[in-house]
Amino acid sequence: MTLELQKLTIRYGDFTAVDEADVVFPSGACGLLGPNGAGKSSILKALLGLVKPTSGDLVLSGRSVSTDPIGVRSLVGYMPERDAYLPGLNGFETVRLCAQLSGVPKSEATRRAHEVLYLVGLDEQRYRPVAEHSTGMRQKVKLASALVHDPQVLLLDEPTNGLDPEGREEMLGLIRSVQRDLEKSVILCSHLLHDVEAVCSDVVVLFKGKVVDHGPTARLVEGAERVFRLEWTSDSPSPLEPLRLLDGVQSVESSSETAAELVCAAAFESRRIFDAVRDTGGAVRSLSVRRQSLEDRFMQALESAVETGRSLEEVAP
């Protein structure tokens, strides 16, 4: 499965929501990133045939949204962001109805509803009204509804919304398994970029309706700086100035009298921080390191764009 945005433009009156977006979403798991108003929802609406593109097209596995919106919809399994259930129905009835509305005959829909509910881990709870389900169970019902008609591509809009950390990890694991074991393509929209890093091999970044970056998630993450959190003993002199002079150190920010955060180049070695502190006559109390996340980089690029007045495309890492 490949999804192609071909010079896609969507306008609402004078407002341009998507501006000549031209990108190919590869098969596998692909993240769709962007702040509010970036155009993510408009692309979803267009893909689901709910909004007609002003110009350009979306093509999913050779089918054009402009000429065959219902046909494209049958290839897509959509998991909405908002709480969505059918009043009065239990989990099983909800999933079965979703299958029937997608054109699956009733007997087959019944079988498949049971299978996908088992698959997502809803056992006896499937017979409870969805209105009485926990957030986690509702998310699983939505995922089962998205999967039940055997779509080629899963469109997941904030799938971990409202889940506790344990539930989030379970859902992300489930999505990874669905993508890997069922060989479904996944397009994941999320503002929790950790989710995108955890699931997606590729990412498309949108900003103000334009595609500002796309490519393998690893490429975006691998070139990231390393962020060190340093604490030194209270009797040590401040090592901030010597640290700033080190090659590869991009910034040093003091967070307290005895702590600082250093943003360094990807290849920067922590040993040099120990050496610099020791050279001032002090001692390191603790040093932790983390790779700068996709979210950090994305927010950094946005901030830079706002500060410099340049486009995100120019400042994007």
Binding site: L50, P80, G103, V104, V120
Partner: protein
């Protein structure tokens, strides 16, 4: 959690046409009151007028007798009240005896149908599948119509079949078929409008309770206005038909041929106004983009 080896299968069956998809939604809409046992019991209660008519027919036809009257057959007075060859016998089940149940069912079920889906976010779940908002509306309409049709049209049909089966009159079929058919058609049109209007209100407003209040309040208010207008403008024919319920009853009576007045155009215009007004507002509100607001 792993899905490996879960038995998930590729879909290898031909997909159903649109009408079969909508049928599934219509059935779900129809079954909405039966989710709770109290709902089912309440619904069964609405069959009372129809079953009462059936029992009355059996009494007047002499098939059911009590005590000394056994074998004496139906009285001419009772037969004149309940004549199964006349259209009004069937029509009054809908226009008179079922009124309270019809209002209760439309306020309880029809008015809640779309508003409740909207609150629960179901529109997003449904419209992103192989159906359109218009199809979604039609499915709910069919579901609501069927819900009201069973205790009314269903009972009319049952009464007619029983009357035909028990009649000793060889001319019964030729005498009664056309009046029955006209009454049946008039009743069907009345029920179609009676379920269409509150469903439009349900589509327009965002809360189920508000839809019920607007529907019942609107019926009562316009009913009162039509009575007042009728008393002021006595010389103007059909002025009372500004009330939707009165217009529905008049139109059904015109189709059934049970009224002397010729108010077919007036009643059609009145109902047409309400249908177009509320229908266009509902369609305006049920925009596809609403599913992904």
């Amino acid at each position: 959690m792993t899905v490996f080896g879960s038995g998930y299968r590729t879909l290898n069956v031909p997909l159903q046409p649109t009408w079969r998809r909508l049928q599934a939604l219509a059935v779900t809409s129809f079954k909405a009151p039966f989710a709770r046992r109290m709902g089912l019991l309440a619904y069964l209660f609405t069959f009372l007028p129809g079953l009462g008519n059936l029992i009355f027919l059996l009494l007047t036809s002499g098939l059911i007798t009590f005590g000394d009257s056994a074998g004496s057959g139906p009285s001419p007075a009772a037969q004149s009240i309940y004549d199964p060859t006349e259209a009004r016998t069937y029509l009054r089940l809908v226009t008179d005896q079922f009124v309270q149940f019809a209002f209760a069912l439309t306020a309880w079920i029809t008015c809640r149908a779309i508003a409740r889906d909207r609150v629960a976010g179901a529109l997003e779940l449904l419209w992103t599948r192989g159906i359109t908002p218009v199809g979604y509306f039609v499915a709910h309409w069919v579901g609501s119509f069927t819900l009201l049709a069973l205790p009314t049209l269903g009972c009319q049909l049952l009464i007619y079949i029983v009357a035909y089966s028990t009649s000793a009159d060889e001319e019964f079929l030729s005498n009664s078929f056309e009046p029955f058919l006209r009454a049946f058609a008039g009743s069907a049109v009345l029920l179609a409008v009676l379920t269409f209007l509150p469903l439009c209100i349900s589509a327009i407003v965002s809360r189920a309770q508000l839809a019920s209040i607007l529907w019942i309040g609107g019926l009562l208010l316009l009913g009162a206005v039509s009575v007042i207008a009728g008393s002021i403008f006595r010389d103007v024919p059909g002025v009372g038909l500004i009330a939707p319920w009165r217009a529905m009853v008049e139109l059904a009576s015109q189709i059934a041929g049970t009224t002397e007045d010729d108010l077919l155009v007036e009643s059609s215009l009145s109902l047409g106004f309400w249908v177009v007004l509320l229908g266009s507002l509902a369609m305006r509100r049920l925009r596809p983009t609403e599913a992904l607001a």
